[in-house]
């Protein structure tokens, strides 16, 4: 009898800890549901809606960016990043977030104030490995936040449009993954080298970063 009760409690705890994540809005390339939930929760704590830069981490699709970054990474780095996500998502199951018994939940289930408090505890820890783990996670989310063209436009940090000269090497180097036979350029396509004319601060922005037409 007791065995069944204990098993049921353990099962319930496992479900609370590892299951019940919402489906992703878009198919993920590399991350699992729980990892997407964790990154989205962290990004919203780091970059909440409103304030000096209006866009939130969720609006900037930080989770989608981190998913693409993990997909582009090599296996060993993927393992390390996944371990980092697991650590943050489940550390609060053992070391509760400030605020009483309600803090004994996985990170993505905490409320906003609790998430911010937990991250601040990691950030200011006296233990170097904890600070390092926080810095690593924040770095991934920050990369994602700054990948948002809207965020970059707000800060006037979006890349400029640049006319790229065609040099002789461009007649030989194909797109990565393509055959050299795919290079269609000839010497007639060569252009003068870089002009040395400084870019203007109000120069047009690179494709993909300009304000969308309404």
């Amino acid at each position: 009898m007791w065995i069944w009760i204990v098993a049921a409690l353990v099962g319930y705890a496992l479900v609370r800890v590892f299951a019940g994540y919402p489906a992703a809005a878009q198919p993920a390339q590399a991350l699992r549901r729980r990892e997407l939930a964790l990154v989205a929760a962290v990004s919203d704590a780091l970059f909440p809606p409103g304030g000096a830069v209006p866009e939130s981490g969720r609006e900037a699709d930080v989770a989608g960016y981190v998913d693409r970054l993990v997909a582009a990474s090599q296996p060993r780095q993927r393992v390390l990043m996944r371990a980092l996500f697991f650590l943050f998502e489940h550390a609060t199951v053992i070391f509760p977030a400030p605020g009483g018994p309600g803090g004994l939940r996985r990170f993505s289930s905490l409320d906003t104030e609790q998430r911010e408090a937990v991250l601040e505890r990691w950030r200011t820890s006296r233990l170097f490995p904890r600070r390092l783990a926080f810095t690593s996670l924040r770095a991934l989310c920050t990369l994602g936040y700054f990948a948002s063209p809207s965020v970059l436009r707000t800060l006037r940090l979006a890349p400029f449009a640049i006319d790229t000269p065609v040099c002789e090497a461009d007649l030989w180097y194909p797109p990565i993954g393509a055959s050299r036979a795919s290079v269609r350029r000839s010497r007639a396509d060569l252009t003068p080298p870089a002009s040395g004319v400084p870019l203007a601060l109000d120069a047009p922005l690179a494709p993909g970063y300009a304000e969308p037409r309404r």
Binding site: F47, S73, Q77, R138, L155, C167, A169, A178, P198, L199
Partner: protein, 510 residues
Amino acid sequence: MSANGVDLRVFADYDRDVTESVDVAVVGSGPGGAVVAKELCDAGLRVALIEEGPPFTPAEYRVDGGISMARTMREGGLRATVGTVMPTMQAICLGGGSLVNSAICNRAPDFVLENWSERFALKHTRAEDLAPHYDAVGSYLGICETPENVLGRRNLLFRDGCRALGIESEPISRNVRGCRGSGECFTGCRSRAKQSMDITYVPDALRGGATVLTSARVEVVRTSGRRATGVAGHIVAPFSGKPSHRFRVDARAVVLAAGCMATPVLLARSGDLANRSGQVGRNLQFHPGVAAMGIFEERVDPQFGATQGYQSKHFLRDGFKLETLWAPPAVLAVRMPGSGHALKQRLAEVPFAAIWDAIGSCNRSVGRVVVRRGSLDPRLEWRLHPEDTPILAHALFTLAEIYFAAGAKTVLPGVHGIPEELHSLDEARILKTHPIRPGDLVLGGNHAFCTTRMHGDPAQGVVDELGRCHDFDNLYIADSGVFPQCPSVNPMWTVMALARRTAQALASAH
């Protein structure tokens, strides 16, 4: 010889195992290998230049910092030392680090070369010995000071702060022609102004008859007695590194220019080659870097201007060099304190910010490169020596001085255990008084050296002054691993100068 009259192979074109026979196999196409390949072609030798990464064109560059690193850097840009944890990046692409560095060109200071000569029994590596090689490379690449019209306010504020304090400073000399100040050196120059190896030395080597194998990972150096007989490995897919066909290059001589991390791993995996001295993989040094951010009242618009356009070598003998810095905003923001709305407030200050950094000459901080089981990636063991930490603290304080002299209202030093914001020079003095530990600093270490150091005594070094391995008649090394100590300044020009000398020695010997 394929289309367009040059023999360049890319991943998609390999449809079978590859075997080549040449005079010299050069492993690595960065500033060392590319120079060697071109010089040997000029000397009439048949050369195979072998590069693990693919060629990149501007269409392949990504201005997004994270994705760019994942595509162009080994281990996706997440490589780091253990001991004192410090990220360090090595490129994997045709042209090597020259594609994604900020093109800084400094000659090694005379006092450094004198020290090398005296301490490492090097009779022909003084300034006057290397001058012809520096000159030749400088002339070929058009190395010159960054023009004032593309410095941007971020660089000019540094100049102004240094002038106010009487600190010597200068525009940085770079291998750049026609810079437009896009500040995108680290993600690839879309202006094609940076004279990286892939558009300079490598094309000249191709024109000179070299075979360039890209996406070719060398896994073993083949030897017979005291002679290297070639290299072998696998063709690997770009980015994933998944192996496909095998390749083998037979050669009368081999030059390893795979970089300070990869060359010792390659030697070790080839049967502990060239290691009678026991120095292969040892003596690993970096220029550990620290950075601080200054916030000004008026807009700095730091995204405009040469990525690293100004520097001060005033404190070289004190152990550090100062320079301006720009990088993809996301990479810089990683250093900012706080989270939530406080962090967002900080981000909003970036257009008013200048970022400057210091690199330290930390000769006491030594580590080693170790072969990682089942991988060609190295394990990097390195610790910042406690006596070197004050050098970096001194550098940060000096940066704070320059910031305040230039009119900054706030300085963010990025050091754990001291205030996140400093509002005056008085407050900044805590950088001198507070006991800072290595783990308190946010370090970066992108110049690495000494893992196959040159030494006049074969018992104490891996190569001689000409880059030839003491234990071999025809195996050479031409990357920053041959430096006997860190050079105190950015190493690329010195790598190229030494590589040119090695190529000339090899050409005359074979």
